[in-house]
């Protein structure tokens, strides 16, 4: 049964019972009181009527005594006529009497107002008369008879007449018709049923049993008499045969009045119970109705309230169901502050705890699952073997011996497998331990994250490098914040997200003085398992502070040495020049000659110093190439031109062999000139007759340049050493500058720094040919090479940078076609605008229809400014010239947008269209 219903029934029953009980109690009490009141009223009314009757009888009682004591009547010496007259007078006066009579002591009617029976002796019984005459009793309505001569029922009144001596000599008798009395007493008027009975119960009057008057007794006289038993009034409930209903009968015993003692009559009033107790019954009905209404309302209210109360319980039940289903986020609103509210609160807390325990369990579960997977592998093998064996068993119907054998085999194999497992496990443990030891003692810092980004390895060196305490708890959060401090967090996130390799050098201790800074080289790469699935990320940190320091020292050294050597050299030269220029004064020829020698040696020394510095830079890897697009043919032409005079001096022919047109290569122009010059210089130096041929030829993947001469050549033994430092062959006392012995070494370094190759072919006394090849970068490769160089330089200096690519297209869709010359001119103008907008000394690369520039050290804000300027400049150009070519402009930030060349290039190529 539902809870509200239960409550309702329970409380309802209590209320009903209580209500009914109380109301019944109240009702009966009220009714009792009411009944008593009604009875009392009835008795009162009855009493009043009786009283009235008695008063009236008293009056008649008094009257008759007055009559009896009237002087006329009471005189013995008056005549009958006089008595009669007097009686008549009285009759007229008291209209109530039917007749008045005077009887003498012999019961002879002496006088009578009606004139009937005068002079006759009264015949029949006349107790009244007897009592009056014999006993002197005054009676009033004591007897009632149907009058002999009047023929109607009358009440008799009698009083003795006494003479002066007090002797009774006669009696006065009056008669009043019964009905007169009744009328006076107003007995007939009421609607009630009334009876008047005498002392024996004889009906003197009955409103309902008229026939029975003077004949019957009251039907319940005995009961009434009992009930009265000496009291003046009483009541009883009586079932009346006539009306077939219950009556209340109220009876009053005659009380008399003053002297009149009464006749012992009893007056009864019958009131039907339902009429008498109508008020009570009405009250009862009202009460019942009200009670029912109240009970009904109460039930309703209880039901509603109990429903309200049970609602939270229902909620609780639902929440419990939800939690049981696993929805641990279920929460119950705690609305009430009672025990149910507490229950809800505890419930919530319980689900919270459950949730937490569940998370814990899930974590436990995942690590357990990992361990399980390993063992699953082995157990699968086990299973397969077992399956195989059982199949064999099923197939063979042969003897049990086979079966047993096979079973034994299985057992052995199980044993083996178990041993395998154990061995594998111990090997894994051993391996794992040795890995641990290795990682712990490595010189590099190693951090490894699993595929969920949780830290799996974090060796002591890594802690030291990142400034994390050896005992400090390491969490991903701490790692991230450490990484962020040294500007590695973005790189790490990029590596994890895009699953690619990343190399970055960072500084730990930005704000510290140089001595306290540590430089770290950080390599991050995804870890793949043999299925090439990514299972984590490994970060290797190497402390390169020392290397950086050495590097810095090298740079400083070279710079310092360069300065320190050149300064005195410069002074020497200036000094000698001063004298040679005769500034301080004249000098003679000999002095001039000597000082010229000095000057030329100073210059030689200068060249040696330059070469030495060059070669140190190259060996220290500090040689920076300022690459740009250069037409190698034009360059070679320039070289040839510069040696024309020198060649002429020695009567040597300069030959050129350039393949037609421009060959554009991406090189450091000055350095290539230096290399070429070197070779041609040597050629001229070691050739006395013949020619020097300089050629530039296009090759499949590059350009081939050579300097060939018809000079002294190089011996076979010397050829291998030709590019070594300080090798000088044939100290010819020829003219020309004295070499430094470093020229070819430097030339080789230059060519190789350009990713080219150089070699020599020579035959003693026939001639020598030096050839070098330089790669030609075209199109994408060129852009790639450019970005590679620029990015490398930025990375080595630890700087950020921005790659900007602008591309022009749509020439074929132009309405007005333009010639190649015009196109070139346009590109030139665009390049100018590009360069002006960039406002940097960085070389802008033009590659086909693209302009590329990498701005090292350019901040994000500045990059945006540059892009804006380029955009505006190009737009202006397009509007001015009204050319409808399409221009796309893109930008990629290092390291924000990408870490590597490909990434930067692909982002920078995704530009926005400028016009439209």
């Amino acid at each position: 049964m539902k809870f509200p219903l239960k409550i309702t029934i329970l409380l309802g029953s209590i209320i009903v019972v209580a209500g009914v009980g109380i109301s019944y109690f109240i009702y009966s009490f009220q009714t009792g009181v009411l009944k008593k009141q009604i009875l009392f009223r009835l008795e009162e009314d009855a009493f009043h009527i009786m009283d009235k009757l008695d008063r009236m009888l008293f009056e008649r009682f008094s009257d008759i005594q007055v009559f009896a004591t009237c002087p006329v009547i009471s005189s013995r010496s008056v005549t009958a006529k006089q008595i009669t007259d007097r009686l008549v007078e009285y009759k007229h006066q008291y209209k109530i009497y039917a007749s008045l009579s005077f009887f003498d002591s012999d019961r002879v009617r002496v006088a009578d107002t009606s004139g009937l029976g005068v002079g006759q002796k009264y015949r029949g019984e006349a107790p009244w008369l007897d009592e009056a005459l014999d006993k002197g009793v005054v009676s009033a309505a004591t007897y009632v008879r149907v009058s002999q001569n009047l023929k109607i029922p009358v009440f008799y009144f009698a009083a003795p007449v006494k003479d002066d001596n007090g002797n009774i000599f006669g009696a006065v008798v009056t008669r009043i018709p019964v009905t007169n009395i009744y009328e006076i007493a107003k007995l007939i008027v009421e609607a009630f049923v009334v009876d008047l009975v005498d002392k024996d119960g004889l009906l003197l009057y009955s409103s309902y049993n008229r026939k029975g008057i003077f004949k019957d007794n009251l039907s319940d006289w005995e009961a009434v008499k009992r009930s009265l038993s000496g009291q003046m009034k009483g009541n009883l409930i009586h079932y009346d045969e006539f009306s077939k209903k219950e009556d209340i009968v109220v009876f009053i015993h005659e009380a008399g009045f003053l002297d009149f003692k009464g006749n012992d009559w009893t007056y009864l009033v019958h009131v039907p119970v339902e009429i008498a107790f109508k008020p009570a019954i009405q009250l009862r009905n009202k009460v019942v109705t009200v009670i029912f209404v109240i009970i009904f309302l109460a039930l309703l209210v209880i039901y509603v309230l109990s429903k309200r109360i049970s609602k939270p319980i229902a909620q609780l039940k639902e929440a419990a169901v939800k939690v049981g289903e696993g929805r641990l986020d279920t929460k119950i609103e705690v609305l009430s502050k009672d025990e149910i509210g507490d229950l809800a609160f505890s419930f919530n807390k319980m689900t919270e705890d459950l949730k937490e325990s569940r998370f814990e369990l899930l974590r436990e579960k995942s690590s357990l699952e990992k361990a399980k997977t390993e063992l699953d592998g082995w157990s699968k093998t086990l299973e397969t073997r077992v399956e195989e064996r059982t199949q064999d068993l099923n197939q063979s119907q042969e003897a049990t011996l086979n079966m047993l054998e096979d079973l034994e085999k299985v057992r052995d194999e199980l044993q083996e497998t178990n041993d395998h497992l154990l061995r594998a496990k111990s090997e894994i443990e051993r391996f794992s331990k040795s890995m641990e030891s290795m990682v712990e003692s490595m010189v590099e810092g190693v951090i490894m994250l699993d595929e969920e980004g949780k830290i799996v390895v974090f060796n002591p060196k890594a802690r030291q490098m990142l400034g994390v305490g050896l005992d400090e708890e390491i969490s991903r959060r701490i790692l991230d914040s450490t990484m962020r401090r040294i500007h590695l967090l973005d790189a790490l996130s990029d590596c994890i997200k895009k699953k690619r390799y990343c190399l970055k050098e960072v500084v730990v201790g930005d704000n510290e003085p140089l001595e306290n800074k540590r430089f770290l080289r950080c390599e991050m790469s995804p870890v793949k398992n043999k299925d090439a699935a990514i299972i984590g990320v490994v970060i290797v940190l190497r402390d390169i502070t020392h290397e950086k320091e050495i590097d810095r020292m090298k740079t400083e050294f070279i710079s310092t040495v360069s300065h320190e050597l050149r300064t005195p050299l410069s002074i020497l030269k200036e000094g000698v020049s001063l004298v040679l220029d005769r500034i301080p004064g004249q000098i003679n020829d000999k002095q001039e000659k000597l000082l010229s020698t000095v000057k030329s040696n100073i210059e030689r020394l200068g060249r040696i110093i330059n070469d030495l510095l060059d070669i140190s830079k190259m060996e220290a890897g500090k040689l920076e190439l300022k690459k740009q697009r250069v037409d190698i043919v034009a360059l070679a032409e320039g070289i040839v031109a510069s040696f024309v005079s020198k060649a002429k001096e020695k009567n040597l022919i300069l030959k050129k062999a350039f393949s037609g047109g421009k060959i554009s290569i991406y090189v450091d122009s000055d350095r290539i000139v230096q290399a070429f010059t070197n070779l041609v210089n040597n050629a001229i130096k070691f050739t006395n007759t013949g020619y020097i041929e300089i050629s530039v030829k296009r090759r499949a993947d590059g350009v081939e340049c050579s300097v060939a001469d018809t000079g002294v050549g190089i011996s076979k033994e010397d050829i291998p050493k030709v590019f070594d430092k300080f090798q000088q062959f044939g100290r010819t006392a020829g003219g020309g500058e004295k070499g430094t012995g470093l020229g070819l070494a430097i030339t080789k370094e230059i060519i190789e720094a350009h990713k080219g190759k150089i070699w020599v072919e020579s035959q003693w006394a026939k001639g020598t040919k030096f050839t070098f090849v330089l790669p030609v970068f075209k199109g994408e490769n060129l852009v790639s090479e450019y970005v590679s160089n620029a990015l490398g330089a930025a990375q080595s200096r630890g700087k950020e940078g921005t790659l900007i690519i602008a591309s022009v297209s749509g020439f074929d869709k132009l309405k007005k076609k333009i010639s190649p010359a015009e196109k070139e001119a346009m590109f030139e103008r665009l390049k100018e605008r590009f360069k002006n907008s960039v406002r940097s000394s960085e070389e802008v690369l033009r590659c086909d229809s693209e302009f590329v520039v990498f701005l090292e050290g350019c901040s994000k804000k500045d990059s945006l400014d540059v892009r804006k300027r380029i955009k505006e400049s190009f737009r202006d150009y397009l509007q001015e010239e009204k050319i409808a070519v399409k221009i796309k402009l893109g930008m990629a930030l290092y390291p924000d947008d990408a870490f590597d060349r490909e990434g930067l290039i692909s982002k920078a190529k995704k530009g926005e269209r400028l016009n439209e």
């Binding site: 070279i558 710079s559 360069s562 300065h563 050149r566 300064t567 005195p568 050299l569 410069s570 002074i571 020497l572 030269k573 200036e574 000094g575 020049s577 001063l578 220029d581 500034i583 301080p584 100073i602 210059e603 200068g606 510095l613 830079k617 920076e624 000394s841």
Partner: protein
């Protein structure tokens, strides 16, 4: 009126050489031995040309050059920068500092003469 050259250089022998040369050629040479002094001298002496060795104490030559350019009379004054150091971006830095000419040591004296002469003639 002979032209005045302000030479900012910390190497005494260099100073002597330049004094000897340009003095004889008919220029007045005033000298400052560090960047700070150089600025002071520039305002005090109001030279017609400034010759600066970029490696000097206190304020380096490039900064001095820029400061001169930003000063009221310094926009148009000829400035020549010299260096003995193996600076790779000497040309670039000189352009950025808005110098009129730049020269590496050891230079050919005649070259310097010509540069100075041309700049002072403009």
């Amino acid at each position: 009126m002979s032209k005045k050259i302000l030479f900012i250089e910390d190497e005494p022998d260099e100073i002597m050489m330049v004094r000897e040369r340009f003095g004889t050629l008919g220029y007045e040479v005033v000298v400052a031995m560090d960047g700070e002094e150089g600025m002071e001298m520039f305002f005090k002496e109001k030279p017609d040309l400034v010759l600066i060795d970029v490696i000097i104490p206190k304020i380096d030559g490039f900064v001095v050059c820029r400061q001169i350019r930003q000063s009221p009379n310094g926009e148009k004054i000829p400035i020549v920068l010299i260096t003995a150091a193996g600076m790779l971006d000497f040309e670039e830095k000189s352009k950025q500092a808005e110098a009129d000419a730049y020269l590496r040591r050891p230079y050919e004296s005649a070259t310097l003469d010509e540069i100075v002469k041309n700049l002072l003639e403009e």
